[in-house]
Symmetry: C2
Subunit: 239 residues, 2 copies
């Protein structure tokens, strides 16, 4: 059942059977969330961390004027709030963008891992560092890329991340977000989001319908995005 987590952590470095057992031992109960439900509430102080087994979720903040900004998209195998293990207080919420199947792991058991399993600790730490690397890439995209390039970059990133956990289908993947939700990812108005998606379609690099994205020309998409997957640390090496 934890296969997505093993695939995610295992892409960076070998994961021993003992370590897999430790992770499995840290898990407690499972739960399902419906679309739109908060998986973790902003301001809460969870005593467990949440692993996505299936579905798509997002971190977000809401401003006083009602504007919402997603700060990350989380795919199966991601710990959506592993940072809360040490940060303690959630400064943002996490919402299910599709029906989500998750499993919770107690902070007390994660703490035990940090006391007894240094290598596994480093892999969990690494997982949050990749999170940070993705954040930095988003900052660059928001600040200095054209909106078309930003969207292309996001498509590249999601495709690669979903591929790692075997959630792609050939050159296609499921992307359940509405255009309004996509707008909250890129920081655009809905109308402009629609224009930008139209631009990518016109370039002929993706088709996008029924919540399914198909990459028609990976090479050119990557060019438009200036996509370099180094930041995802997909190289398997001692950590």
């Amino acid at each position: 059942m934890l296969e997505p987590l093993y695939l995610n952590l295992g892409q960076h470095d070998a994961l021993s059977d003992a370590e897999k057992a430790l992770l499995a031992g840290a898990m407690t109960f499972e739960r399902h969330f419906a679309i739109g439900q908060d998986i973790v509430a902003s301001g809460s102080r969870p005593t467990y961390s949440t692993l996505i087994l299936d579905g798509l979720a997002a971190r977000y903040k809401v401003l006083e004027n009602g504007g919402r900004q997603f700060t990350s998209l989380q795919v199966p195998g991601d710990f959506v709030d592993l940072h809360a293990f040490l940060l303690k207080t959630m400064d943002h919420g996490i919402v299910a963008l599709s029906p989500c199947h998750v499993i919770f792991s107690d902070h007390s058991r994660l703490r035990a891992i940090t006391e007894e399993a240094p290598h596994l600790t480093r892999l969990l730490w690494l997982d949050t560092l990749v999170d940070g690397a993705i954040h930095r890439e988003w900052i660059v995209a928001m600040g200095r890329r054209s909106k078309t390039s930003h969207l292309a970059h996001l498509v590249c990133e999601l495709f690669v991340r979903l591929q790692v956990v075997k959630r792609t289908n050939g050159m296609s993947f499921h992307l359940p977000l509405s255009q309004a939700e996509m707008a909250d990812v890129l920081g655009l108005s809905v109308v402009h989001m629609n224009r930008v998606i139209g631009a990518l379609r016109k370039f002929g690099v993706v088709s996008w319908a029924n919540h399914t994205v198909t990459i028609l020309d990976w090479h050119r998409l990557q060019e438009i995005a200036e996509f370099d997957p180094t930041y995802l640390s997909m190289m398997r090496e001692p950590r």
Copy 2:
């Protein structure tokens, strides 16, 4: 000499003398960097991590069209590339924005800390988690705040972070960035950056001259920024 680091880590949780000694023992040699010099090069695979003792530095990426985006500002007490300890390959550069005095810590000794000092390991991990939290706040600012609010937020954040390491002077702090460099922080053109700074001045909440920022009306600045320091985890509690 490591005082800024102790202040930085110590703001989140108590730091024992033994832990301070471990940190001191991880340090090797010091070095000075001039303005504009790369402290860490993009694409490199450092075998040490860099702690700022004095000065201001920034992480950045450069795009093909020459556009540059800063993804973080680093103040004294910050490990600018602690993530490279596990990420291995730098996917971005780090540049000195003022003359910088830094000290290097060997990855082999950091690794030893993860093997032998779980609590200190968690504090170092936490340090990178706060980094991530700051990134998320920047994403929100870039995506959904007005530019004036974004700048106000940045001023609030820098003031608070500098205060922790005793680098403020009353309500003032030194900010050596030119407006062109500030533009690369916010993702704006130089001309518009100038307009936005002008707006903050017109509101009468800050004065900004000679690379010195003075907060004239903290309350109103915070309001404009919708600044909530929760994400900086400045609460001292067991981690």
